[in-house]
Symmetry: C2
Amino acid sequence: MDLERSPLALPFPDMPDIAGVTLRVARARYKNWDRCDLTYAELAPGTALAGVFTRNICCSTEVEMGREQVARGAARALVVNAGNSNAFTGFRGREAVEQIMGQVADHLGCEAADVLVSSTGVIGVPLPKDKARAGVEAALSAEACSWEDAAATIGTTDTFSKGATVSAMIGDVRVTLNGIIKGSGMIAPDMATMLGYIFTDAAVEPAFLQDCLSAANQGSFNCITVDSDTSTSDTVLAFATGKAGNAPLTSPDDPGGDAFMAAMQDICRQLAHLVVRDGEGAQKFISVSVTGATSDDSARRIGLSIANSPLVKTAIAGGDANWGRVVMAVGKAGEPADRDKLSIAFGGVWAARDGLPLPDYDEAPVAKHLEGREVDITVDIGLGDGRATVWTCDLTHGYIAINADYRS
Amino acid sequence: MDLERSPLALPFPDMPDIAGVTLRVARARYKNWDRCDLTYAELAPGTALAGVFTRNICCSTEVEMGREQVARGAARALVVNAGNSNAFTGFRGREAVEQIMGQVADHLGCEAADVLVSSTGVIGVPLPKDKARAGVEAALSAEACSWEDAAATIGTTDTFSKGATVSAMIGDVRVTLNGIIKGSGMIAPDMATMLGYIFTDAAVEPAFLQDCLSAANQGSFNCITVDSDTSTSDTVLAFATGKAGNAPLTSPDDPGGDAFMAAMQDICRQLAHLVVRDGEGAQKFISVSVTGATSDDSARRIGLSIANSPLVKTAIAGGDANWGRVVMAVGKAGEPADRDKLSIAFGGVWAARDGLPLPDYDEAPVAKHLEGREVDITVDIGLGDGRATVWTCDLTHGYIAINADYRS
């Protein structure tokens, strides 16, 4: 199936080199296709590692092993397989991952545990070891490639390549963070996974790198949804090569520590938004801001209840300012709310205040807002100071076409 | 929008009279349509009442008042308004309900609290009091109508009228239970609500009637889902007129007590299935059976996670035995599960056992099964004795067409 490029796509940015990171791609031909589908990133000795992973209990071998590797905090290489998620494949899947780790470790003269592996694609088919071996061998001898090439190679049914770059000052040293990402939640057909990778030349201790990534994750990847289905392979990894020459960061109190945390939040949010912009069938990018909840976490749950509601998402797809469905989604969230204190706005225009439709509500500017590509929904719960913003896309015929009409 | 009759529709059954119940319908014209939209059921003095309601926090006035009335346990009449849910309408909505209760109470010479009111349709528009008054007046003087007429009149975007009848022996007295129901979860466009009503001539004390309904509800209405969106008005009421002449039932230990409980479960399950069969855009009726969970409740939650997954529902719509998506949905349910003990079958054919795809798995009989109107998914968690079955429908272009293409 040829997917049309998302109308919400953004152009791939100019991304500078990151000292200590070399990218290469190759054809492992995990599927019957003629495209690069194996990405290899070589990392300088001493590179610090952090990661966040899916909470899906039925996660892949790659996720299980990745958790252990992140606990060690060091990495020398990353291999990403596209076309086969290797999830639900038992010991045979694990053997394939261990083979890749060993093969790269032999090449680099490092420990196998320093080699991270991710896989994305069909569930339930063990990653073929022969294809993996040949693919890794080809990648190890390939020429270095661009960030855009790597971003394209980790993709499966993505309709555009996704990358972002930001920089921050640590003392008088400018450091760069580059990120690439693929997918949009549990993406189909038969594909699973959002995979994201952030590379920086900053020197950062692994524990603080993990703190930065975990904090940024909470307000970015954990605040997006396309279809409420949580992949078995979701992974975001951060690699810090330390080549920029700054004094190593160990806490937010270090000079530049807060700037680095802010840069990490910035790049994570940019990458998360790119995933929503490539949500299956997406025609509109929807921001749901919740204020007045009893806590920030409660606000986030209410926001996700709205963003996951098929009836809200289809209403937006139809350009319908159906705030009754927003009320419904608030009410089913399982969080504190009071119907008679609820206020709802579209594009900054209040449709209901304190539990009642506004008598002078003018739907014309709202209808105009809903015709655009970017839709804002604001909900004030009226109970406290908790706030959160989550992002999603609309639910369209495109989603059904991709997931039901097409047989994998 | 003219909706096509669901391909999963069942013919309306022959339903006998229930002594002590008289049905009438009238045109209140809550919307710009020419059809009966107000249903009135008159109940003999002494009728016992039980009810279960939505857990949506933003529920309607009718639901709030209904909860209080059920606590009293007695009813003399039921009024159902179709075309306006009267939800999110504040004090003006409440005034309309109180007007209807008073008007009927004056007519019957009973207390206002004996008159139950339900409303279903657009959210956020106060029920117009003038139309309600004229509609009730017309209904009070109308000729008695059939069960099928009443079932048709409570419907909104339903594509077929839904009713069921069962009987049970209490001692040597045969009692009858008739039920009618409308909707399919949070149904659209702009409509909310599943409303269900069960009438019996059995003599049953209110507390035991409530026990029977609550127990039956757990394995029927609470085990169906169309789109995971919980209405603000969901209501199921049970009325027992006591006219059959049996010795009043007060507990399951009374002669016939267990038979009555079983009959209540039977009719609730039949009615719940009818709602799924009229799910928006439904082309297939899907049963998800979960065994081997750590508890029955855990099994139900896992079943609903599968039944609510857009990716599972679109896979079934496409005739794709995509058990990887079932694995994903088990893993995201937040319930105990072990990937390596998981087994999955379609139509009784195991596709995966103990966390691995079966090497001799034959997809041909499964593909054949998925071509039919009724699809069975079985998941064994492999951890305990907990079991549950939930029911849903597939997710098709029809759902998008009904909810996005149509403007209310």
